[in-house]
């Protein structure tokens, strides 16, 4: 039995996935997480440390890490890369002023060795706001179409209404499950 098979076996037993929520500050990461967990979203302050939530999703246990995105916190992001199965990149679809920053930070992540192989889901959040940028516009602004290093998908959504959040998580779990266990959920 090769080493690879052993690793696979172990993971199979655990059936855990580690999802890392990243993105600029104000994107809506914490709000999405609280929404997933049916918690109140009115009192959320910008994240100074990080939040962790564990969810059951089908046969899998998801460990979701939500890290603060303020500029002074971004140097700490690297501390959370190890063992990441998927990056969930959250974008404030109304933040036209910072799309360039957003693109730069995202592509910086994609070149990290420790994130190689991780699936990438981009949430184009805040679609409930009438004039938010669409998924297509954000794909273009973030240059997603040129990403070859990672499996990716963009999912327009709203953390406030809850719309399409689960669709995005579903895609992510399927994609990771396929890669790790060679199975569909």
């Amino acid at each position: 039995m090769g080493l690879f098979t052993i690793i696979r076996k172990n993971r199979q037993k655990e059936r855990e996935m580690r999802l890392l929520f990243l993105g600029l500050d104000n994107a809506g990461k914490t709000t999405i997480l609280k929404r997933l967990n049916d918690e109140d979203i009115t009192g959320i302050s910008p994240t100074l440390g990080f939040n962790i939530k564990t969810f059951a999703h089908g046969r899998y246990t998801l460990n979701i890490w939500d890290i603060g995105g303020q500029q002074t916190l971004r140097p700490y992001w690297r501390n959370y890369f190890e063992q990441t199965d998927a990056i969930i990149w959250v974008v404030d679809a109304g933040d036209r002023l910072r799309m360039q920053d957003c693109k730069r930070e995202l592509h910086g992540l994609l070149s990290e060795d420790r994130l190689a192989g991780a699936s990438l889901l981009v949430f184009a959040n805040k679609q409930d706001i009438a004039n938010s940028m669409t998924g297509a516009e954000i794909s273009k602004a973030l240059d997603l179409l040129n990403i070859r290093s990672h499996d990716w998908k963009i999912q327009p959504c709203s953390a406030v209404t809850g719309e399409s959040i689960l669709d995005g998580i579903d895609w992510t779990v399927h994609n990771v499950a396929n890669r790790l266990y060679g199975t569909v959920v």
Partner: protein, 323 residues
């Protein structure tokens, strides 16, 4: 490598535990005290934020389970402190509750969780819907009101971008448009020597490069970056954030302008500012409360902006914070 980490982990454990015991017992003492000295509370706040900073620095070597436990501990200290502060303050009752963010919030979560059909791949399907940006940009020496804004065609609230404004008075509170023009969130960049009077909104405000400006706004979250000499009149149910800022002063949003929810203003946490560039053991030197006597008198907003036949320049001279 593993060994170095182990000793780092142990060292951290020992020092964290020492601080934890210390802080916990001090919290207990002050918790039972009849009158709570703000000095002691301040010192506790300093020590808790120091612990928070040490934890952030240690995340590179701490195992994730440990990190989580430490994080929970720090959070619980922060929570206790907040409660103590509230009970110490001779203020109106403290509450984070605020009116439902948007009508959309009422949509049930179970609805949202319905396992709908996988959304079609977007790049092809959504490209036909052009999104319309709403912006107020490139103005100098002007008096701008809601009528200067492009009208939003939608009935849902919209996002507003304000950028490259110099020597202007922007008053989006007087003569507010119909509901169809409601603003949900603002993104602000590069505003100098101006007064921005913005309404209460359900979403967040994010600002960059604001200088020598007076800003009034009600919002769900507030983040200000790379700015200086700004007086902020704020109503907010969460902690306002500053980062890379200097000479910022905070005070409450003029009460009578708050159209929506008066209890939100009463319980506003506009002084619970967190300076992300100063997560350490001393109070941030980058902001302070705006002294009552330096504040624009509540009742004169928004008339204070244009009084009689003042021109924009003389109003600005009168209202802008000192440099």
């Amino acid at each position: 490598m593993a060994d170095t980490n182990r000793s780092l982990i142990e060292e951290f454990y020992a020092s964290f535990n020492a601080s934890r015991t210390d802080i916990a017992s001090r919290l207990e003492v002050i918790g039972t005290a009849v009158s709570k000295s703000t000095e002691i509370l301040d010192q506790l706040a300093v020590d808790v934020s120091k612990l928070r900073k040490e934890l952030a620095d240690a995340t590179s070597f701490l195992p994730s389970y440990d990190q989580r436990q430490y994080e929970l501990q720090v959070k619980s200290f922060e929570h206790s402190l907040e409660q103590l502060r509230v009970s110490a303050a001779p203020k109106p009752k403290f509450a984070f509750k605020r009116k439902a963010a948007t009508p959309a919030t009422n949509q049930t979560v179970s609805d949202a969780k319905k396992p709908g059909p996988a959304t079609a791949d977007l790049p092809s399907t959504a490209s036909t819907i052009a999104s319309n940006a709403r912006a107020l940009s490139n103005h100098t020496g002007q008096y701008l009101t809601s009528s200067s804004l492009p009208v939003s065609s939608s009935t849902a609230g919209s996002e507003l971008t304000i950028s490259d404004i110099d020597h202007c008075i922007v008053d989006l509170v007087s003569n507010q448009g119909e509901g169809s023009n409601a603003i949900t969130a603002v993104h602000v960049k590069n505003v100098k020597r101006s007064v921005l009077l913005l309404p209460s909104m359900s979403g967040s405000a994010i600002l960059h490069d604001v200088e020598n400006t007076v800003l009034a706004i009600g919002c769900h979250q507030f983040r200000m970056h790379t700015s200086s000499h700004v007086d902020v009149y704020l109503s907010i149910p969460s902690n306002p954030i500053i980062e890379h800022c200097t000479h910022i002063r905070f005070t409450r949003y003029p009460t009578h302008l708050a159209t929506s929810d008066s209890t939100a203003e009463a319980s506003s946490t506009h002084l619970s500012v967190q300076d992300f560039s100063h997560i350490r053991a001393t109070p941030s030197p980058n902001w302070k409360p705006l002294p009552e006597e330096a504040a624009i008198a509540e009742k004169t907003w928004p008339r204070a902006l244009l009084r009689g036949d003042d021109d924009v320049e003389s109003v600005l001279k009168r209202l802008l914070p000192p440099i």
